[in-house]
Assembly symmetry: C2
Homo-oligomer: 197 residues x 2
Amino acid sequence: VTPETAPNRTEVRRADRDATDEAPEILVQGLVAHVGFVIEGQPYVIPFTYHFDPASPGKLYLHGSTKGRALEHFASGAPICVEVSLLDGLVYSKTAFFHSMNYRSAVCFGRARIVEDEAEKRAVFEKLIGRYFEGRTAPRDYTSPTAEHLSVTTLVRLTIENWSAKARRGGPNGPHDKDPDAPGSAGVLDLDRPKPA
Amino acid sequence: VTPETAPNRTEVRRADRDATDEAPEILVQGLVAHVGFVIEGQPYVIPFTYHFDPASPGKLYLHGSTKGRALEHFASGAPICVEVSLLDGLVYSKTAFFHSMNYRSAVCFGRARIVEDEAEKRAVFEKLIGRYFEGRTAPRDYTSPTAEHLSVTTLVRLTIENWSAKARRGGPNGPHDKDPDAPGSAGVLDLDRPKPA
């Protein structure tokens, strides 16, 4: 079995939580990409800043320093997994079992390559700054990357082969949560959006 | 090379960002564990709720439904990686290259097994609810898990073999960020703590 033929790589087993049509919006709202890769059978997960543009949904850019084991590995085109989660609320119930979280989570599978083209690198870095700092633009707010700065920064482009997303919404589902006379308390502790998780 | 002998599994390459002594505090503050594992060479990353107690730093519990590919895999004792990140601020600079993030991130390596012991399961679930909802206790706020509920919930115990943590703090480090006469703007957009990422 190769990664390409692994069964059900993006299957969401609980149909009630499938939110694959929301994957682009989750990737737009997220701030941290949790990137999984394998070296010699050992899994690693490292957080990265990233850029995703819903107008180009087949790719996702990861940004890191030129140092680091992860980026060296990415250059090889090995399979990677990128997960982005948004934590929307903490759900509490009158019954222990029904405590939960409201979240939206997307996962992307594919292979990544280091971006060598300077024009692509430059364009993505400018967009990435605008994604993290809405409305921030050069040269008003900052000076654009120099060729030297571009040369010591690594940008990785993931070609997304497939993705899925899941979500949980709403209040607690315990048997007594809608009964005001039942002992205990139930509700949702909302967390401000957008909230990376 | 086996996972145990893989070189430098927890090395933090940038010494200025090493924060391994903060790993317990990061795990205490985090809300989401990003769990990496490998099936047939393919990396996966899935978000979980979790429990970590700094008084028992050698283990970490992951909580999921009984369904799901990940938990089936965990039962095998295969190597996994658990990453928890806290996003503290967005750092903006007068120079594109010096935009950054303030974060704290911990990563744990080890092997995991499903917890079969009902007393351990029960105790961890009660503590987990108290960790996510400070001060929430049974029977005042909710009814404790029934044996039936425990039987359909899966708890996984990771034995942490090693861990590391890294952090970035402070303002931007661009060459003009402390010069009020230089064009553009520089600073930190603080995000409320604790902030999972």
